[in-house]
């Protein structure tokens, strides 16, 4: 495991109006590892995640303070175009979001086609690559031109992942990607995460502590908007330093 830091937050505070949802969080995110963010509902882990690719920009009541560095560059610097940041730092949401007017193929290559990639062969190759990475290719290769909304929930979520991967992001943010899925689909996506980290740095928010323990290399525990503890996953789960972390992972609250 190379300990290269890919992203890093410095004193990151995110305000909803006057209320800080994330308070002074400094957290390194290591290259080609899976970092899990855990904590009880409302602890700020999703708010933190969304700050990493400027998804808060559209919400006028949200204000971000502090720094988020991507390869040493502050993504909140006024000279930085958030659109370019989001091409490098992709996101998969809690609920699958297939674009309803597009078929499976169009969904996967939407991020390429809509910025002007026209070459059919290039798009076809990108779609196949992304769908194979997302472990969906075998299930959909014969019906690429059918509506994406006809897929099952688990397939739709893997489609959303394939779509995010098709633009070849360096970092992939995942906001509880399996919370709406059955165990079989969850298993498929967890297997996929482990394979993906060869190429992509992953930050995953999860409510499911077993999931964090199974898939992640490092774990950050959030409580009331603060980062309580961060470390290698096996250490967080076997010998947590903070009593609050221990209370949470042993199921005493949350």
């Amino acid at each position: 495991m190379a300990d290269d830091v890919r992203m890093e937050t410095k004193d990151l505070t995110v305000y909803y109006g006057k209320h800080p949802g994330v308070k002074n969080v400094s957290l390194p995110i290591y290259d080609r590892e899976i970092t899990a963010l855990i904590g009880p509902s409302g602890c700020g882990k999703t708010t933190f995640l969304r700050a990493l690719n400027r998804m808060h920009d559209l919400n006028p009541i949200v204000r971000v303070e502090g720094k988020v560095l991507l390869d040493g560059e502050d993504i909140y610097d006024p000279s930085v175009d958030p659109v370019l940041i989001r091409r490098r730092v992709g996101m998969v949401f809690q609920r699958p979001t297939p674009f309803p007017t597009m078929n499976i193929f169009e969904n996967v290559v939407a991020g390429l086609r809509l910025v002007g990639v026209k070459d059919r062969e290039e798009l076809r190759r990108a779609a196949e690559r992304a769908l194979k990475m997302a472990a969906l290719w075998d299930e959909v290769k014969d019906r690429l031109h059918q509506p994406a909304v006809g897929l099952s929930g688990g397939q739709q979520q893997r489609l959303s992942i394939a779509r995010a991967l098709a633009v070849e992001p360096e970092v992939l943010l995942m906001d509880e990607p399996t919370s709406a899925l059955d165990p079989v689909s969850t298993q498929a996506i967890e297997d996929l995460l482990t394979r993906l980290k060869e190429n992509v740095t992953i930050v995953i928010v999860t409510h499911n502590m077993q999931q964090a323990a199974r898939v992640s290399d490092r774990t950050a525990f959030f409580l009331d908007g603060e980062l309580i503890e961060f470390g290698r996953t096996e250490e967080i789960f076997t010998k947590p330093k903070d009593p609050r972390t221990e209370a949470y992972i042993t199921g005493r609250f949350g």
């Binding site: 690719n53 998804m55 559209l58 006028p60 659109v83 370019l84 940041i85 989001r86 091409r87 490098r88 992709g90 996101m91 998969v92 949401f93 609920r95 979001t97 674009f99 309803p100 007017t101 939407a110 991020g111 809509l114 910025v115 959303s160 779509r163 995010a164 633009v167 992001p169």
Partner: protein
Amino acid sequence: MNLKRRYLRDRLMQLLVYLGTLVVLVPLFFILYYVFVQGIGALNWEFFTRPPAPPGEEGGGMLPAIVGSLIVDTLALLFAAVFGIAAGILLAEYPDHPLNPVLRLVADVMAGLPAILMGLVAFVLVVQPMGHFSGLSGSVALALIMVPIIIRTTEGVLKLIPWEITEAGLALGLPRWRVILSLVLPAARGGIVTGLMLALARGAGEAAPLIFTAFGNPFLTFNPLEPMDTLPLKLYVYAISPYEDWHRQAWGAALLLAAAIMVTNYLARRAMRS
């Protein structure tokens, strides 16, 4: 307990509901029936293919008014669609834009203004600078009537599109305008088309705003820069004329108009369902 009385009340209420429905439907069917009976006799080959006969003479048709209605209404819909959809996008997708309170006020006021005032506005904006009446000025007047309808329906359907779609698009590194154009608008297409059709149906039935804009023209023309006839305008002129044959043709125009608007409404509803 008093179960029996509750059943009785239930039946009474049902009866009232049916009665209310009947009260609304009967006049509608009566109007349609009356227009049909009065108008069907006027609809013949000549009605659709001939220009009007000189005053007092029998025969002649509505061809200039039919062509004029098609041209004036289509142009009006084009103008109104451009402004209405753009404004609807602004209101729905950029809710904090500083222009929005003004835009919303203007749309609400416009929706409440009498149609003839829109004719007056078009008269000042188009007829006076051009120096003469024209189909184009009529289109502008009708567009002013259609715009608030299109703004409202567009804003309404865009707000129904899940925010997750926008976020998913942005997360792919797409610029905001691209997300709206390629992801949100297509998802709202059915509803937007419905709004356009409803606006068309509303505008196509107006005569008052055309009196001093499109003005009317007994001769067939395809040039919207000249005065033009439309069906409602012709209906109005013929209905207040002293000639029996013109009255007959006015009923024909009324039937044609009612049929066209009902078909448009029907198509709008079908588009909404898809």
